[in-house]
Symmetry: C2
Subunit: 326 residues, 2 copies
Amino acid sequence: MKTLITLVIAAMLTTAGPAVAGPDPLPSWTEGPARSRILNFVQTVTQQGGPDYVAPADRIAVFDNDGTLWSEQPAYFQLLFAIDRVKSLAAKHPEWKKKQPFKAVLEGDMKALAASGEKGLLELVIATHVGNTSDEFAVIVKDWLATAKHPKFQRPYTDLVFQPMLELLAYLRAHGFKTYIVSGGGIEFLRVFAEERYGIPPEQVFGSSVKTKYEVRDGNPVIVRLPEVDFIDDKAGKPVGINTFIGKRPIAAFGNSDGDFQMLEWVTSGPGARFGLIVHHDDAAREFAYDRHSAFGRLDRGLDEAPKRGWTLVSMKTDWRRVYPE
Amino acid sequence: MKTLITLVIAAMLTTAGPAVAGPDPLPSWTEGPARSRILNFVQTVTQQGGPDYVAPADRIAVFDNDGTLWSEQPAYFQLLFAIDRVKSLAAKHPEWKKKQPFKAVLEGDMKALAASGEKGLLELVIATHVGNTSDEFAVIVKDWLATAKHPKFQRPYTDLVFQPMLELLAYLRAHGFKTYIVSGGGIEFLRVFAEERYGIPPEQVFGSSVKTKYEVRDGNPVIVRLPEVDFIDDKAGKPVGINTFIGKRPIAAFGNSDGDFQMLEWVTSGPGARFGLIVHHDDAAREFAYDRHSAFGRLDRGLDEAPKRGWTLVSMKTDWRRVYPE
């Protein structure tokens, strides 16, 4: 009996190769090279006894979030959250009326905000994201996600996740992959919605962070968020974060901007079969079209080097039948 | 057929309560309150429909390493590794002959070494653990673990893991728990042996760390270990580390020293059924006897507060039939 059960379970867990009938796992991907490459890679690494077989424990796939799993225009959604926070906290901070980058936010002057540069944006994030506990912050983010609407699409931000990527995540997991988010965005911001929206639990979500401290308040322990950057999980920080949080080199990486370049490089230069993919935002009609000159999600070096590094470049316009879920 | 298989699998995954026959999952634990409390807790949180049922995704258990999963006397094993490294690197560092704490190590003067305090020990660790890549460091640790012998037991350090705790780890995992290491020791040191020895994969092992950077050397990307502390995963750092790495509050915590106090406090003050356990080293014959006055693994506040906080105090002498594996 035990042997029978073992065989049944083994059969259930075994890779469905292209020969096996079943519903299309990637219905939102058009028939084309991107889709074929994904299917081939998964078949290659899951084929028992094959030369490039990878044990389930090492089937680790890492995904950028902004621009890869959901949209990032007209600005990173977390920045739009920070802007809304500035507005709602402004009454308590009269000094912001005269101080950049807060003044720019309150006056709706996006040009002046952009001119404040990375330093200004960081200041904005620090001022609007800390001074609370982790639990309190999660509630603030949750409330915002439940009520705020995207300026162009007039839909909640969590509606603006990419349907083809949701299918890809599910497809990889069905083949024994562990899926991670490796984002330049805030770790505690992402964890609020990643499990429900992407099926990725908190312990597989990481990103940039502020320092925190442990404190017991009236006998009640809390984690307090401090006004100091702890880690920036972007560019060369991504492989560093992967090494710290996962401790193994993943075999597949998915990104969309030059902020993902080093992650793609790190992942795809390992031995054995590797997979790198870049989502190219070339769809002004259904989403946005931008690459080399965008303030958010700039893709320049990656666009040049993808072909010679063997990375799959996905055209949102032609490779995806649909962008967002219904 | 599918329903039958589903039922069979469900039956296999369902908790074995005390009524279900089977081999004893904790053969190295004597019949006593510690063992009963462990069994009761697991039964309570895995009982479908029970008032304290916890879904598998939230069955997270965190374990300290030094003194909880393996021995830590006459000094933390990683410190003994650092001492061996000083000796093997001494020829390249003639200045160490005159400089503390290196001089103390080279002269075997443990008193002077202890007198160098935390600062001295940190200096020792930094000098002996960095300047290499993560991959190179892993090889150095692996070689040391394969050859070095414990001064008292004359056995490899990885033999000195606690058999009762190995059984406990396996028992928890068999009941849907995800087991983590949350150690004051070095994250990249621990990951070298944690999977093989404890069945805990790298992504569930975390600890203290040095800063690292990503670098491409002759086209080959590497993670370089830098001479700067990144994070100390001890005392109030443990809940902070748990929040960063796991993003959820675990429901069970296992430690042995005051370095684990805040972790135990954080875990056991959450809502619902919670479990905290402290291993008390009171067995001079089979291992070591120490608590309030030990330089390594000092247990003072925890010893006083365990009863009133409902934490289980394990006597190595009476609760464990056996300390080490055969």
